[in-house]
Amino acid sequence: MIRGTRNFLALTVLLWVGTVTMQAEPAVSEKSATTVISAAQQAWDDAAKLLINDANRKFQEAGAMPGVESREIELGEATTLLSVQPKTGSNIARAETLLKKIIAENGSDETAITAKYLLARIPQIHLVVRDEKLADERFTTLIEEHPAHPLAQTALVKRGLIRMYSLTDPATLAERYAVAAKESGNLTGPDARRDYFLLLSDVSIKTSKPPEVTLGHLFEVEKAGNLRDRALADLYVQIAEFARVAGQHDVVVLYYTKFTGRFKRDSRRYYIEEKLAALRSGGVAP
């Protein structure tokens, strides 16, 4: 009787432990009626909101659905693997494998171009030990194969950063700047032009170029457009200030006026209004 009671108690404990353990297992994902496309959209939506692990899981689930061979799903999985937490070398390697597979299947569709872009970004910013030479090569491939595509245009900017700051051919920053300035004509997309000329303007300052040179780059940034308020406010101030140093007073007045007209709540406004007033009256600004 006692032995039977002990066995009963022991079995009860075992059952309880087992139930708790099983319930702790993640529920088997239900095969919902959602199509692959909308599953991908949901996953992209998660990724856009920084819910990377959720997005990666959804891409994997979508990819595991029978009969599914969506390159977009593979791209989604690879994209999210680059940021899934914890970020590990093996995840990055898996992402790279997936991206190469996408490219190998068809190297010219939108998905492949995106894959080429990400493939170049991996050695540039995703690896613990970066390989910017490899990134440069991959960006070059993308640019040569799809020069007009927005991602290739963006790649010109990313490659520009590598060549300017990381590679040493030519040897000095000033020489590399000169090469990069000449290549600015390759950029046709407005966003890419904006970003590229921002880079050139910064480097022109670093290499102590005359203010007119920096001004030229800043005007190109303005022409390219698409700047958020804060960046636009900074741009107006930069143009006005470099114009002031270059002695182009009309430009100073124009851009200070643009600034004060548009940006009412900026901590520089009062100071700029003083400067503007001084300039207009022919005085010296503080």
Partner: protein, 535 residues
């Protein structure tokens, strides 16, 4: 039955425990039954603002709201700052958060995206609680003084996640009657020169038997004033070092330090340190080891004449003090000051003062519509006015008048771009060695040279470490942005134009960030090469 005294005494502890348990059970049961009353909608909101007056003010707003909505009950949950992050994380992960939560502690971008509802579609519509006012047709976003420019989530997620109900500024409070007694004047100092006259008056007062300290100091309060003075001394220097010429407070003078155009022996830095020392001499001995409460007690007990702190302490100080508490902007050296004027432009501009006490709507909110409506009421002209008047906190809504009692705290737009503060690099190392060295600056036998003797040899390595951390954090952000950018592009291609706009914004943000990342990396590498060559 024979009464057993010993048994009774032994059971007191148990009976006490049982009584407390029974009381708790009853309280919980009562609360549960109230919650289960389906005819009543209970809105819960949580925050950490334990300062005097804030809870009462929010209760007053809630009471007015309930008058209009009798079937609503509003519960305020106050959690101390120190444990807020832990408490919030537990509630969010557990799926039972309050409806509205103050955003700040424990909130990262991905948590905001996961657990909070973006309000971007709401902020472009007018606030219905502004009906019949001048703001009736104005989008909710534009009714805020800062236009929600600093709303949580806007910069990285391109969505509005938080709605502020106040703003904060910092000021120098003073004991008005004691001030008049010590200085013989009711007029507070407007400039640093006048402040030094106050210091002198306090010294004379102490010689006659007084035991007064001019400014209550502590680890918390002293930087409030000292940093403002320091930033004023580096205004011109900041502009000189700003090779990009954006005229903005850039944080640390990284590029200038790494390219050798700035060092700690700059006259402006020396002047700023001298000024800090002067202020330190007028604070209690050993103020660095004192806590915020020590400084507050010193002020309310009239052992100090002045104290520097934020507008969030107005109500607390006034309630605890038996005297009239007034406040002024920090008295900065004027341009005519013979010792300090050469380096300053003037008072800093507060034009970009952002919203404070931002509330977010949780995704798992039990009553999201009601909670959102209450939030709109809190940030309507009427609601925000009640909150501001009762709490003595600044309003966040345009055309809500600043109560007379806190008029000195209203942000002043007229001013100049701020300079930089030496210990603020965005990293921990420079701050740490600055704190370690600071006693050398302010102790009686100390000074700028003694301070620099300790600080300067360590500064370069600390700047390098802080820059490395900044670069590492920047790289982490950039790599995450790759994923979100591709995702937004994919959504745009799937037919969502909003995602396209966000993708464009993110591309710009990433470009600027990546530019900065590479530039800093380059500057740091060049600096390290120079250091190795110099060795």
């Amino acid at each position: 039955m024979k009464w057993d005294r010993e048994k009774f005494l032994n059971s007191i502890g148990f009976l006490l425990l049982a009584a407390c348990f029974a009381y708790s059970l009853v309280k919980i049961a009562q609360r549960r039954s109230a919650e289960q009353d389906k005819s009543v909608t209970t809105i819960r909101f949580a925050h950490w603002q334990l300062e005097a007056g804030t809870k009462a003010a929010l209760d007053a707003v809630a009471a007015e709201y309930i008058k209009k909505h009798p079937k609503v009950k509003i519960d305020q949950i106050l959690i101390p700052e120190r444990v807020f992050a832990t408490w919030l994380t537990t509630r969010l992960v557990g799926g039972n958060p309050p409806d509205l939560v103050a955003l700040g502690f424990g909130i990262t971008d991905d948590r905001m995206a996961r657990y909070f509802t973006p309000l971007s579609e709401e902020v472009v519509k007018p606030n219905p609680h502004n009906a019949g006012t001048a703001l009736e047709d104005v989008p909710w976003r534009d009714t805020f003084i800062d236009g929600l420019a600093s709303a949580p989530g806007l910069f990285n997620l391109f969505e509005y996640y938080g709605i502020p109900c106040s703003m904060v500024t910092t000021r120098l409070y003073y004991n008005a009657p004691l001030f008049e007694k010590v200085t013989g004047s009711k007029v507070p100092p407007a400039t640093y020169e006048e402040l030094t006259e106050v210091f002198e008056a306090v010294r004379v007062y102490n010689e006659k038997g007084g035991n007064l300290v001019a400014i209550a100091g502590s680890k918390y309060n002293s930087p409030v004033l000292m940093n403002a003075l320091f930033a004023a001394q580096t205004q011109k220097l900041n502009l000189e070092l700003d090779r990009r010429r954006v005229m903005r407070f850039a944080g640390a003078p990284y590029p200038a330090f790494f390219d050798g155009s700035f060092d700690l022996f700059s006259p402006a830095i020396r002047s700023a340190l001298e000024l800090s020392r002067e202020i330190g001499k007028n604070m209690p001995q050993g103020f660095l080891s004192l806590a915020r409460e020590d400084a507050t007690f010193s002020f309310v007990q009239q052992r100090s004449l002045m104290i520097a702190t934020g507008s969030w302490d107005v109500q607390s100080l006034r309630q605890e003090s038996s005297f009239e508490v007034a406040a002024i902007r920090f008295p900065l050296p004027s341009r005519q000051n013979p010792q300090y004027g050469a380096y300053t432009l003037g008072p800093g501009s507060e034009a970009e003062t952002g919203g404070a006490v931002n509330f977010g709507l949780t995704r798992d909110a039990p009553n999201p519509e009601a909670a959102l409506d209450f939030l709109k009421y809190l940030t309507s002209i009427e609601g925000n006015r009640i909150f501001s008047e009762k709490s003595n906190w600044l309003p966040s809504i345009v055309s809500v008048p600043v109560p007379e009692a806190i008029a000195p705290f209203a942000p002043v737009s007229e001013g100049y771009p701020s300079g930089f503060i030496l210990e603020w690099t965005g990293g921990p190392e420079v701050k740490r060695i600055y704190e370690n060295a600071f006693h050398r600056l302010v102790r009686p036998d100390g000074g700028v040279d003694q301070f620099l003797e300790y600080f300067e040899p360590r500064y370069a390595q600390a700047m390098v470490l802080d820059m490395e951390l900044t670069i590492k954090n920047g790289l982490r952000t950039l790599s995450m942005q790759d994923t979100t950018w591709i995702a937004l592009r994919a959504l745009e291609q799937g037919g969502d134009p909003r995602s396209g706009a966000k993708a464009a914004s993110l591309q710009e943000v990433q470009a600027i960030g990546e530019n900065s990342y590479y530039s800093r990396r380059y500057d740091l590498d060049e600096f390290e090469k120079k250091r190795k060559t110099a060795k």
